[in-house]
Symmetry: C2
Subunit: 244 residues, 2 copies
């Protein structure tokens, strides 16, 4: 029914043959450049194609669809950011480690707001979330977060009455909320302050104490016990530490 033959075979330009790698890389680079300029939503496939020096259809030889291309762009882009990170291992102290985990993500966001917007707002609601760079980031960072918390619980530094997953959600969630506000241009985005605040609240909120309460009570408790012992050496009227 439809004749789809391009009869006018004006030979435009002699399509220079390249290896697949080169073409694919060209397209990825072009896509990244266009996204950086216009944001995901306004980025047309034809923009990318033009910039890559190919024709629309060619993109579909290398990528399944637009989203697939976009996800791959984000993966590369985000991967570069991870390389700049310092190592968690070199940092001592639970609270400092928590602070670093928050700081790292916040730094990436501050350094690459376009990438952050791209991943957070445009790529995140992927039906196939597990293929998303956002998921990858979460997976990676979550692993370390859980490690830090688990160690703290095992050493008795942290109480174990709140799931480490919850702490992870608090840390990442808080960062995300601040990021949204940042991307919207609301308020400031003080990386150090935010990282410090999150780490401080979580650390204090989880810090275990000998008497089962929270805080640095060692001194108080010792003094109370000493005084109590003096008052009542037999221990008859002592508060019921252990009965029977």
């Amino acid at each position: 029914m439809t004749a789809r033959s391009p009869k006018s075979a004006a030979k435009k330009k002699a399509a220079t043959r390249l290896s697949s790698d080169d073409r694919s890389a060209d397209i990825l680079a072009a896509a990244r450049a266009v996204i950086a300029e216009k944001g995901y939503e306004k980025t047309l496939l034809s923009d990318i194609a033009r910039r890559a020096g190919v024709v629309d259809g060619t993109i579909y030889r290398y990528f399944e669809n637009k989203r697939d291309l976009m996800v791959k762009v984000a993966q590369i882009w985000f991967g570069e950011q991870l390389l700049m990170d310092s190592h968690l291992e070199s940092i001592a102290g639970t609270q400092n480690r928590l602070r670093h985990l928050a700081w790292r993500t916040l730094s990436i966001i501050q350094r690459e707001p376009v990438l952050a917007r791209f991943m957070l707002m445009e790529l995140r609601p992927d039906p196939n979330y597990r293929n998303t760079p956002f998921f990858e980031m979460n997976r990676r960072f979550t692993h370390e977060m859980l490690q830090v918390c688990r160690e703290a619980v095992e050493s008795g530094e942290f109480l174990s009455d709140v799931s480490p997953n919850m702490l992870r959600d608090m840390l990442h969630g808080c960062i995300e909320h601040r990021t949204w506000a940042f991307l919207r241009g609301e308020g400031d985005f003080d990386v150090d302050e935010v990282a410090d605040g999150i780490a401080r609240v979580i650390y204090r909120g989880m810090a275990a104490r000998p008497d089962g309460t929270v805080g640095s009570l060692d001194g108080l408790v010792r003094r109370l016990e000493a005084v109590t012992a003096k008052l009542d050496p037999a221990g008859a009227n002592a508060h019921p530490k252990r009965r029977g």
Copy 2:
């Protein structure tokens, strides 16, 4: 150039004239029903129109565009949820209040997952965020959160070394993270447990104590003071409560 005249004037159905309110309400109801069935992404304007018993173009008399219609649907839907909430005022104790704030949002999400997905994933990245029901929710809940925190700081129950805005971000962010996982069908969604965990960490993380440490020390401190007073009625060796 183009003749846009529908020459065949088959008078289908005598378009019954309704008041604007009714039509608008019909369309809103139809939209909500279709969204509930198919989700935002798969909802076509023509679906809504058909269900509302109008024709596509009619929708544009009552709503600016598809997104505008969607946002209004979400506003109504979400507004209903707020009505079911119990009052924060009736709840005593800072930690209980925090728990309630978390619990309230989590309950809505659990009760109306389609609404949650709709607001969180599909409507949230609105260029005009401030018109979004998500923004409205945040504004409303944030107000109360800040109120609770401010009171706690003023009464000396909370330390003031972390911005209340950060606590808000932690609370809402944590909820959001759990919601994403819930909507993705990962893990369980125990409203009480999550609300309790968040409130507990934040409360402990912020609780101010007389000695500058953290924890529920009132009892201990009182006992220590009583005992100390007995030992040294003159107060000579009492810990430096007030000197000079």
